[in-house]
């Protein structure tokens, strides 16, 4: 459900280096789909900031964000009980109906890309789908939610600095896993190598700078194989068969 609402901050604390967990609560029931995002108005910044929904309980939304610039810095200074103006229910979300009995599913997350996959993992588990999870981090100090993920499935962790899990990239972990369907989210170079690694069907969650987040401004256009899509409304989740990473 797409909605603009005022929420109060229940929790906003660091959970890893420069990584914060934010819990916000509203007065209405917020039915959200894994892969959807919210757009937060941050004081003193003109444009809203988009963040994937990391978990959604009845009246609260959890996001996990990394402090990368001035807006996220400011967000990290938001304190309990402060009000945040958000637009929720944005984007299409993952298509879980695309799976069949024969699907051998893997979730592949890199860095902050783990955030939306957490909500997906929880939902897949609830629908009785079994899967494995592959998570990769550039800096092991920025790893988060490893215990939480392992409640839902087997997890394979890698880090570039080798301090947690195996040393290397997510695609190194993928070598040891048999799968025929994937869900992936992470930095663009990682998505490209996941897409190249195996010609399996799957879904990728893409990011782009956004003006509005709801289809009005054309800031977020992305060329798929046969047409241009707006990542904010036709995405952020795109089927691997539509993606054209050739350019």
């Amino acid at each position: 459900m797409r909605e603009r609402c005022l929420c109060s901050v229940k929790y906003n604390e660091p959970i890893a280096k420069d990584i914060f967990k934010l819990v916000i609560e509203t007065s209405v029931n917020l039915q959200q789909i894994p892969g959807q995002f919210i757009n937060i108005k941050i004081d003193n910044f003109y444009l809203r900031r988009p963040f994937s929904i990391c978990d959604c309980l009845e009246k609260s939304i959890i996001i996990v964000y990394k402090v990368v610039g001035r807006g996220t810095k400011r967000l990290s200074e938001t304190t309990r009980a402060q009000q945040l103006d958000i637009i929720c229910g944005l984007g299409n979300g993952f298509d879980m109906d695309a799976l069949s009995d024969k699907s051998e599913v893997v979730l592949i997350g890199g860095g902050m890309g783990a955030a939306p996959l957490y909500f997906l993992a929880k939902s897949l588990k609830e629908s009785g789908v079994s899967f494995e999870t592959v998570l990769g981090f550039t800096d092991s100090k920025q790893a988060f939610f490893l215990d939480e993920f392992s409640r839902f499935s087997a997890i394979h962790v890698s880090s570039l600095d080798g301090k947690i899990g195996t040393k290397g990239l997510v695609t190194d972990s993928l070598r040891d896993i048999s799968y025929n369907y994937y869900f992936s989210c992470g930095p663009l170079p990682m998505l490209k190598s996941v897409h190249r690694f195996k010609a399996a069907p799957g879904q990728l969650l893409l990011e782009e700078r956004m003006g509005c987040g709801f289809g009005a401004c054309m800031s977020c256009s992305f060329k798929t194989i046969n047409k241009s899509k707006r990542i904010c409304v036709d995405g952020p989740v795109i089927y691997s068969s539509e993606v054209d990473f050739s350019e």
Partner: protein, 306 residues
């Protein structure tokens, strides 16, 4: 509600609030937020002869109280707009709309304008002259007095609907440009399009937007837009639609006082999808507060009040 109504070249608007081109999609995107029939009209995304993908990303950046965009006129082309987008909009918006005409040659402007002129849903042709003229080394149409005059004249010859010329503020003398448009036969003006600006990434030292320099809009540009409306309305008397930084009912009252007849709300739609609705609801309260009986009474009052 006639206290809020205004007239643009024979077209009566129930109120002066119009979402600006490029910030409201093709209109119907907003009907899930609220009943868009409350709007005075809607200015559609600028449309060219054929489909355009637009510029590479990043197409957008932010600055204090404003933003930069370099969308690059992404649109599906005039035929697709008329055959696919307008019927979708017609289902949720029953009033006349403002079609925004763009092009890279005078011929393209005339071609697109003629196509929209034949569509019943279209009430006004707004000519977005902030495009580079490929025949004149990419100089924008809006920055050359000769082309402003001639494009306007050519379009007027071939069309029958009111023609509003949307000028660029990036010129040394806006009044001179406005006079050229009027002499070319323009029925009205839209003042103005985006300023030019840039934003540089402090970590890398590179301009953020792919085109390096991009269109600057939002509340930060309001005083410039207001000055343009003020100066132009002082010199010539054709209707003006104001555009630039409009965010609330006070802004609307300010622009009308400066000489505008209607107002386009742009960037603020992206941040607050309800802004046009909120302004329409706020206007009567503000009129009450300032003792304004009818919005029509205040158009241009800044030029004569003591």
């Amino acid at each position: 509600m006639s206290r809020l109504s205004v007239m643009l070249s024979g077209l009566r608007l129930e109120n002066p609030i119009i979402p600006a081109s490029g910030t409201f999609g093709f209109g119907y995107e907003f009907s899930s937020w609220y009943d868009i029939n409350i709007l005075g009209s809607i200015a559609l995304k600028s449309t060219t002869k054929t489909e355009r993908f637009g510029n590479l990303s990043p197409r957008i950046a932010e600055c204090r109280n404003g933003m930069l965009n370099a969308i690059g006129l992404q649109n599906p082309g005039v035929d697709a707009v008329i055959l696919q987008e307008l019927p979708k909009l017609n289902k949720v918006f029953s009033k006349k709309i403002i079609a925004s005409v763009a092009g890279f040659s005078p011929e393209e402007y005339v071609y697109v304008a003629e196509k929209f002129d034949a569509v019943d849903q279209v009430g006004i042709l707004e000519i977005n002259l902030s495009c580079p003229n490929v025949k004149e080394n990419g100089v924008t149409f809006a920055s050359c007095t000769k082309t402003v005059f001639s494009v306007c004249q050519e379009i007027k010859k071939k069309t029958s609907k009111p023609v509003y010329i949307k000028l660029s503020p990036n010129v040394s003398d806006i009044v001179e440009m406005a006079i050229c448009a009027k002499n070319g036969g323009a029925d009205g003006l839209t003042l103005c399009n985006t300023l030019l600006g840039t934003v540089i990434d402090t970590k890398t030292g590179r301009p953020v937007v792919s085109t390096k320099v991009a269109g600057f809009s939002g509340p930060a540009i309001k005083p410039v837009a207001l000055k343009n409306v003020y100066q132009v309305s002082k010199e010539i008397n054709i209707p003006i639609i104001a555009s630039g930084g409009i965010c609330d009912a006070d802004d609307v009252i300010e622009f009308l006082s400066a000489g505008a007849t209607a107002t386009e709300v742009g960037s603020q739609n992206l941040v607050n999808p309800f802004v046009c609705k909120e302004i329409i609801e706020e206007l009567p309260r503000k009129m009450e507060e300032y003792g304004i009986k009818d919005l029509k009474d205040i158009i241009g009052r800044s030029h004569y009040v003591q």
